[in-house]
């Protein structure tokens, strides 16, 4: 009910908005800011579809109040590609068949990008542990694992 002025960066661009206390980050992104790459799946923090990076750390946008990200740097899937096209990780998802229906893909990409930045030398076991909370009902995960492994290589 109370209103709050929040300031944060979204994929590097400064944003200032007045939000209601009960506004969720996932709704702020999708409905107010038009960034629909972030999907709303289970809405209880389990499926990983709404994964965003908050100051580099993966979190569920469905479990964050918009007020909680005041002052933070938010990265969504729209922020992964560079000016010259998809990132190496995105290219690897395409090359390795890291998706089928695509509903989980933005969350997979945002989570994997956070891992590659936090631990570029992550082992296969660490990749599995990190990505365990991003569910996919199509690929059987092998394509996703291959894509992350390919993107990790220099």
């Amino acid at each position: 009910m109370s209103e709050h002025r929040i300031r944060f960066t979204l994929n590097g661009a400064p944003i200032e908005r007045v939000v209601l206390a009960e506004r969720l980050l996932v709704d702020l992104l999708r409905e107010d800011l038009g960034k629909t790459g972030t999907k709303d799946g289970c809405s209880v923090g389990v499926c990983g579809l709404c994964t965003v990076q908050v100051d580099g750390a993966p979190m569920s946008a469905c479990l964050l109040l918009a007020t909680q990200i005041d002052g933070a740097a938010i990265t969504t899937v729209e922020g992964l590609a560079g000016a010259d096209g998809p990132s190496a990780l995105q290219d690897a998802f395409i090359a390795e068949g890291g998706f089928q229906c695509g509903i989980c893909t933005s969350g997979q990409l945002v989570a994997a990008a956070a891992l590659l930045r936090a631990s570029p030398d992550a082992t296969a076991a660490e990749v599995t542990d990190w990505m365990m909370g991003n569910l996919c009902r199509c690929t059987g995960y092998y394509g996703i694992a291959r894509a992350i492994a390919a993107a990790r290589r220099p």
Binding site: S43, V44, G45, M59, L63, L64, T67, M132, G133
Partner: protein, 283 residues
């Protein structure tokens, strides 16, 4: 989600004053992974939410002669990585790393976890076995609560509505103590434990047990200590016989409920099996 008013105190005094003035309809937000879900599901309906994110001092983690101190706002991810935690007991860092998924670990705090009082959670079990004390404060007083006395029932603690959990403190471990945490996950790796066991033992030069702590999660309405099992080990060598007896006593101390993770009898039996495995690992 129902509308509510949100306040972000800049100081601890301000936070405690807010909790003192409206005890019935105010709830505290730490990481929010449980509170936000419960509000979305309309199971909690606060009129006012007090967000703690500006109280940076509650995020501190420190170790020294007096043991380990963990601020209530430290996230599970921070604690899984913290050298102070790993240096105190690697099994404690592994306990925080075993919680849910990386997203939850980065957002959820240890204080929120303890106050949520879900008996199937991981950190309370290892913290119980490490003799943790919770330190809480209200506008009127500060209070030290042995962790076993913090948990009253499922999702219920002994904290008063005007009290805020500030930190947990762990005393130094006995010389040579070994610590382990075992999480039984027959379904998926991000599931809650069917049962879990934390154990701490120390032995003298003859191999006789001088210190034993056994705590169980998912095995009753609260995370619990298996005190008779602990007592049964003191003065004995940690061999097949003493461990089997302690495991049976630990199973007898449980009071599980039947749910989608198994019947009460199954969880009781598994409590014994996993207590035995934990003790054998550190014998």
């Amino acid at each position: 989600m129902r509308p509510f008013d949100y306040v972000e105190p800049e100081t601890l005094d301000e936070a405690l004053a807010l909790l003192a003035e409206d005890q019935d309809d105010t709830l505290v937000l730490a990481g929010g992974t449980s509170l936000v879900v419960l509000m979305k599901q309309d199971l909690l309906r606060p009129v006012r939410v007090v967000g703690l994110r500006k109280l940076a001092q509650l995020r501190a983690v420190a170790s020294g002669d007096k043991g380990l101190m963990i601020g209530a706002l430290a996230t599970h991810g921070m604690l899984a990585r913290a050298s102070d935690v790993r240096g105190f007991a690697p099994a404690l860092a592994e306990t925080f790393a075993a919680v849910a998924t990386v997203r939850i670990r980065e957002q959820a705090t240890v204080g929120g976890n303890l106050v949520h009082a879900d008996p199937s959670q991981d950190p309370p079990v290892t913290l119980l076995a490490l003799d943790a004390t919770a330190v809480a404060m209200s506008k009127a007083r500060a209070r030290r609560i042995p962790l076993a006395e913090l948990f009253v029932d499922v999702f219920e603690t002994s904290l008063e509505p005007d009290e805020l959990l500030l930190r947990v403190e762990l005393p130094p471990l006995p010389q040579g103590a070994r610590v382990t945490y075992k999480k039984f996950l027959p379904n998926t790796v991000d599931d809650y434990a069917t049962v879990s066991v934390a154990a701490v033992v120390a032995t003298d030069a003859d191999g006789r047990c001088t210190h034993a702590r056994i705590a169980l999660g998912g095995a009753g309405p609260v995370p619990l200590r298996a005190r008779e099992a602990e007592r049964s080990l003191i003065g004995r060598r940690l061999d097949d016989r003493s461990i089997s007896e302690a495991a049976a006593l630990a199973a007898a101390a449980t009071d599980p409920i039947a749910d989608l993770r198994g019947s009460a009898a199954y969880k009781r039996a598994m409590s014994g099996v996993w207590t035995g495995r934990a003790l054998r690992e550190i014998a």
